[in-house]
């Protein structure tokens, strides 16, 4: 295990950039932000090769005492579940900067600075292994996001920003209560891994589950806690939408995987049915909502509800295909929906409208743009060969083991996805342009092309060669399901016999554990 502080550098270097952005002129702040986001991506890239996919233990661990009483540690680490999300986050941030290059004209320094603060907090959430540290990052995310929507947003930005802020804050407060409850019942520690190894009474688990659910379900967002999302997306500037859709939504599902499943296994099993029911409702309901929209951003926002339904579905079927599919789907949704929002932002700069009817017939005047948009749309509807298919396929396969009927309902979402996406394409890409906008419809410039091409490449790379990424998840996901013991710090030797607190998760999905055992 390397002692080089990779994770601290990835978390904190954007903060240096954030401060720098405030000190320089608007022009230079763009360059500073670009430099730091690209630099941070390059910094996180070596992890792909350094990551040891044979172990479920935390890697690149850093620990230091932060507060001695109560014992709060500065503790970071990465496993097969957080690793793809960290890379996805650092990968996407440079494009949030480039897409805002000309779109953001006021208070550029502050905007760029907020993007970088956002990056630090988001990566922090994924790598934190101490509950207090986690909660700090979790709450810090709210502030820059609130500002991104509230300062640089559309006409109704204040309503949307306050709705987003209060809604998520309400959930977060219950998360704080749950953290404190765990502290007192779990041996007076905030260490996430230690808490994961503890056992908790059945009724306590139920209450904690509901508290976690409140926090995470709002973030995902799960039906019926999703109505902040369309408002926030529509009002947010493009970069804000991308961050929101690609990364912030993943915080909720990541929370389920990191806390709910390992810490509250009995409650998880008890709540499986309602959680799966909510997920399937989200898949179908979100798709129906998307069909009804005339605003492109709202349509994509509702499609996110549908796609995130697949993620929660995969998590709560509690087998290896489901969870690996869910993690895949988290990454894929980040890339694909991020790409779609970038595309919408790019055309918005030209027509200043997000209405479908104002943005028709783009294939003629903007052929390159049309191809890129089409690729993201096809990925979004889960076409095989693109990234999303792999995630959805695995989730559905996992669901099939759990219930064949549930799978049939969930798979309906795939038909509906084709319906709303292709209908959108039929109106936006095909046809003839609205005469009023024709003159403004110039094809992508070099900056915009450079913004979209890397995402396009990833759409295909993950669709055609998903196995390298899946391989890096196997150990962690198997461990999450099988032994039900939390991942350990690689550097700290663990007692060999841990109390096997429950085998229930494995018991309800017998074939999945068989499969895992067979590997």
């Amino acid at each position: 295990m390397t002692s080089f502080p990779w994770l601290s550098l990835i978390v904190f270097s954007p903060l240096i950039g954030a401060v720098l952005c405030l000190l320089v002129k608007a022009e230079s702040s763009r360059l500073v932000a670009l430099g730091f986001t690209v630099g941070n991506f390059l910094l996180s890239l070596p992890l792909w090769w350094l990551f040891d996919s044979s172990t479920a233990n935390m890697q690149f661990v850093e620990r230091a005492s932060w507060i001695s009483s109560p014992p709060v540690n500065y503790s970071l680490g990465l496993d097969g579940i957080s690793f793809p999300l960290v890379l996805m986050t650092t990968f996407l941030m440079p494009f949030c900067v480039t897409v805002s290059w000309t779109a953001i004209e006021k208070r550029v320094q502050l905007f760029m600075s907020m993007l970088l603060v956002m990056e630090a907090a988001m990566v922090g959430v994924f790598v934190a292994l101490d509950f207090v540290l986690f909660y700090v990052f979790w709450e810090v995310m709210l502030i820059p996001m609130y500002l991104l929507i509230g300062v640089w947003g559309g006409p109704n930005r204040l309503y949307a920003a306050i709705k987003f802020f209060l809604y998520t804050l309400a959930g977060s407060l219950l998360l704080l209560v749950a953290i404190l409850a765990l502290y007192f019942h779990g041996g007076h520690t905030f260490d996430i891994l230690e808490l994961s190894r503890g056992t908790y009474g059945a009724s306590l688990q139920m209450w904690l589950f509901l508290a976690f659910f409140a926090a995470f379900a709002v973030k995902v967002p799960m039906f019926p806690f999703h109505t902040w999302l369309p408002d926030a997306h529509v009002e947010a500037p493009t970069a804000g939408s991308v961050i929101l859709a690609s990364v912030l939504l993943k915080m909720g599902t990541y929370g389920f995987l990191r806390f709910t499943l390992p810490m509250l296994p009995d409650a998880t099993v008890a709540f499986t049915k309602p959680m799966i029911a909510l997920s399937i409702v989200a898949i179908i309901y979100g798709a129906y909502m998307a069909l009804a929209q005339s605003d492109i951003k709202k349509l994509i926002a509702y499609s996110s509800v549908s796609h995130m339904g697949f993620v929660t579905l995969g998590i709560f079927v509690l087998n290896i295909q489901g969870i690996e599919g869910a993690v895949m789907q988290m990454v894929n949704h980040g890339i694909t929906t991020g790409g779609l929002f970038l595309c919408v932002g790019i055309v918005y700069e030209r027509t200043h409208s997000r209405q479908i009817l104002d943005n028709t017939g783009l294939a003629g005047p903007m052929p390159r743009y049309a191809i890129f948009l089409m690729i993201f749309a096809l990925s979004s509807l889960g076409l095989p060969g693109t990234n999303s298919f792999v995630g959805e396929f695995l989730v559905l396969a996992g669901t099939f083991v759990w219930s064949q009927f549930a799978t049939a309902f969930a798979a309906l979402g795939v038909i509906l996805a084709a319906a709303y996406m292709l209908w959108l394409m039929q109106r936006v890409v095909f046809g003839t342009p609205a005469p009023a906008h024709r003159a403004h419809l110039l094809d992508l410039n070099a900056r915009e092309t450079a913004t979209l091409v890397p995402l396009i490449v990833l759409v295909f790379v993950l669709g055609i060669f998903p196995n390298p990424l899946l391989t890096r998840m196997h150990a962690s996901v198997t461990n999450l399901l099988n032994g039900q013991k939390a991942p350990a710090y690689a550097t700290v030797p663990q007692p060999t016999t841990l109390p096997n607190k429950t085998a229930t998760v494995a018991a309800i999905a017998p074939s999945s554990s068989d499969q895992a055992a067979a590997r």
Binding site: K163, L166, Y167, H226, T227, W228, Y285, Y288, M289, L291, A292, Q293, N319, I320, Q321, E324, G325, G361, G364, L378, L383, P384, G385, F389, V390, F393, L394, L396, A397, F400, S403, Q404, F405, T407, A408, A411, V414, I415, A418, A419, L422, W423, M425, Q426, V429, F430, G431, I464, F465, P466, N467, L470, H474, S511, S512, D514, Q515, A516, A518, R519
Partner: protein, 632 residues
């Protein structure tokens, strides 16, 4: 490993032409055509290898692993695959060459080549798959290519709508397919053909309780479920009733694509899939019966609609639907070999007919309505003669390829029991209709007086050699394919698996005679109606108004779908959004916010900051407490 180039050459062609579209422009064929020819030659080599008893299996890479899911992408060639390779590469090569002339000068010239190369790649990977998931991946990929190519002229609203419709209808079929695929994986623990086929026998008797989750009991054979779910996919892809509605609309695409995708290759994927999975279908008589019936219904429905259509391409499209019905029916009756045989000959003559339509359409400056054609046999001789050969083959005229394969199909069907005999009679009747509409097309388009728009009439001429040469090659194939011994070549694949295959002597000759008779009657009737008495069809249409309208409006199936599915779905989406999402759910969220604000306002009233208010409150409180205290 060399055989990996069979699909990879078209893939490279797609990548080069697709990415370099702006640069390559009208030189696209210089890359695309040689790549296809190479692929075709390698396919011939593969055919030779397979014929001499070698089997070809190459694993390219591991696609994904998760638990016991372990999916490889690879190529595997046996006799069944080899003949499909030949069909796909032959038709594709000819269509590539034809496209040079047909799309000449079009702005989307390079894009078109890129898409047909991608399509060919996908179709080749589909037929060479050695597991169901790879089949499914490329199954969807050919659907995508179809979508892109139907929407090639994207400024036409009808083309865009047709593209969307094709993809969506196929998605509905694929919904069933993927559930079937999961059931295979769940039941066998694998998606590899070899493993599935080896274990199929053990699973034959297994049942599953479909109503289990609802407390009921309805035991259904797992094998039947698997076969029917997978067949749903084939119903979509091979344009069977009730998912056939996309195929005729797909004629919005440029004609070469109609020949390649919507006649000779993509639509055959469903038939191919059923034949490929014959070891599974053979274990489920129920599923087989359903397959046979769906095929027969499609066969008859397609033929009745083709009788009255006036768009030249739509007549051919409905005939494709009808012929696919024949093939599916044969597979359902266990006559996989006969179904595949008809698939191959049909591939040749249907590609020929479509490309012939393309020549006519180009010659008439994109006119597709038969009512504005006529008398073209003198101005377009090559097109006429080749089209005639194709029509004869389609009509099952003796000694053409279509004659042999249709005869083989009907005879095999007859020997498959009572159901087979009923369906054979349907098949014979449909053969009469087929001959009738094929020759209606020939007579109305090429014979009689010219009804061509006078603007174009003077300069109607035969298209360039790049277009006529493929026609001639296909015309030769439409005859020769009947003499190549295809049934014998395919025999080992389905050996001992089908109930059919052993032709009973006397019945076979009777059916051959009847089929020939039906064909000749159909041609004769068309001659009588459209050449001898050209006014008669209109009078008949008046007399049989209801039947004519039913056929002309495609049995009103599109209208029924629009009213029962499309509009209600959109209305439900709008209703759910306005009345549930905005009014109830978001209303509740905003309601909570308002309630809190209102509560705050209420409490704020008490905080007026004026001492006398507080004094009043104190006094009132004291009075209340005192009252309560005294009363109790």
């Amino acid at each position: 490993m060399m055989y990996a180039l069979i699909p990879l050459l078209p893939l490279f062609s797609f990548l080069i032409v697709g990415i370099g579209e702006q640069w390559i422009k009208d030189r696209a064929h210089l890359v695309a055509v040689p790549a296809m020819v190479g692929s075709f030659l390698l396919s011939l080599l593969a055919l030779h290898d397979v014929a001499t008893g070698q089997s070809i299996n190459v694993t390219l890479y591991t696609w994904l692993t998760s638990g016991n899911l372990d999916i490889h992408i690879g190529i595997s060639i046996d006799r069944l695959t080899a003949v499909m390779l030949i069909l796909v590469t032959t038709v594709s090569t000819l269509v590539h060459i034809y496209t040079i002339g047909y799309m000449h000068g079009e702005p989307g010239y390079a894009r078109f080549f890129a898409y047909i190369a991608l399509f060919t790649f996908s179709m080749l990977m589909l037929v060479m798959a050695d597991n169901l998931l790879q089949l499914f991946v490329f199954w969807e990929a050919v659907g995508l290519c179809s979508y892109l190519l139907i929407g090639h002229w994207y400024e036409r609203p009808s083309a865009c709508a047709a593209a969307t419709k094709a993809f969506l209808v196929n998605r509905v079929g694929d919904f069933g397919f993927i559930l079937g695929l999961f059931l295979v994986w769940y039941s066998f623990g694998s998606l590899d053909y070899a493993t599935i086929f080896a274990q199929a026998g053990q699973l034959a008797a297994k049942t599953t309780n479909l109503l289990g989750p609802f407390g009921g009991t309805w035991d259904v054979s797992v094998m039947t479920m698997i076969c029917l779910l997978l067949f749903t996919g084939a119903v979509g892809k091979s344009a069977q009733v009730p998912l056939h509605v996309w195929l005729p609309d797909a004629m919005e695409g440029p004609t070469p694509i109609s020949a390649l995708i919507h006649a000779a290759t993509m639509v055959t994927a469903g038939v191919f899939m059923v034949a490929r999975l014959a070891p599974l279908y053979n274990l489920s008589p129920t599923a087989m019966t359903v397959v046979a019936l769906v095929g027969a219904i499609t066969m008859m429905l397609g033929a009745t609609i083709a009788l009255t259509q006036t768009d030249i391409k739509r007549v051919v499209a409905y005939s494709t639907m009808s012929q696919l019905g024949y093939m599916v029916m044969a597979c359902g009756l266990g006559a996989y070999g006969a179904g595949m045989y008809h698939l191959l000959t049909h591939g040749a003559f249907k590609a020929l007919l479509f490309l012939g339509c393309g020549s006519v359409i180009i010659a008439l400056h994109h006119e597709q309505d038969m009512r504005r054609m006529g008398g073209l046999k003198d101005t377009l001789p090559v097109t006429y003669w080749t089209f005639l050969v194709g029509s004869l083959a389609l009509a099952g005229f003796p000694l053409t390829a279509g004659f042999f394969s249709k005869d083989d199909l009907l005879v095999s069907s007859w020997s498959a029991g009572p159901l087979g005999q009923v369906l054979t009679i349907c098949g014979l009747l449909t053969a009469g209709l087929t001959a009738f509409y094929s020759f209606r097309l020939v007579f109305v388009t090429f014979w009689g007086a010219s009804r061509v728009d006078p603007h174009h009439a003077s300069h109607v001429h035969e298209p360039s050699t790049t277009m006529t040469a493929p026609l001639m090659v296909l015309a030769v194939l439409s005859i020769v394919a009947g003499y190549l011994g295809i049934p014998a070549f395919l025999e080992p694949v389905f050996h001992g698996e089908g109930a059919a295959g052993h032709h009973e002597g006397s019945a076979a000759y009777t059916i051959m005679a009847l089929a020939t008779l039906m064909g000749l009657t159909g041609i004769g009737a068309a001659y009588y109606l459209y050449v001898l008495n050209p006014g008669l069809p209109d009078r008949l249409a008046q007399q049989w108004r209801a039947a004519y309208e039913l056929s002309l409006h495609k049995w009103y199936i599109d209208e029924a779908y629009d009213r029962s599915l499309v509009r209600p779905t959109l209305a439900a989406a709008q209703g759910l959004w306005k009345h549930v999402d905005v009014a109830i759910i978001d209303g509740a969220v905003n309601g909570v916010a308002r309630a809190i604000a209102w509560g705050g306002w209420l409490i704020r009233l008490t905080q007026s900051g004026q001492t006398q208010h507080y004094a009043l409150g104190m006094t009132l409180g004291a009075v209340v407490i005192l009252t309560v205290y005294l009363l109790l």
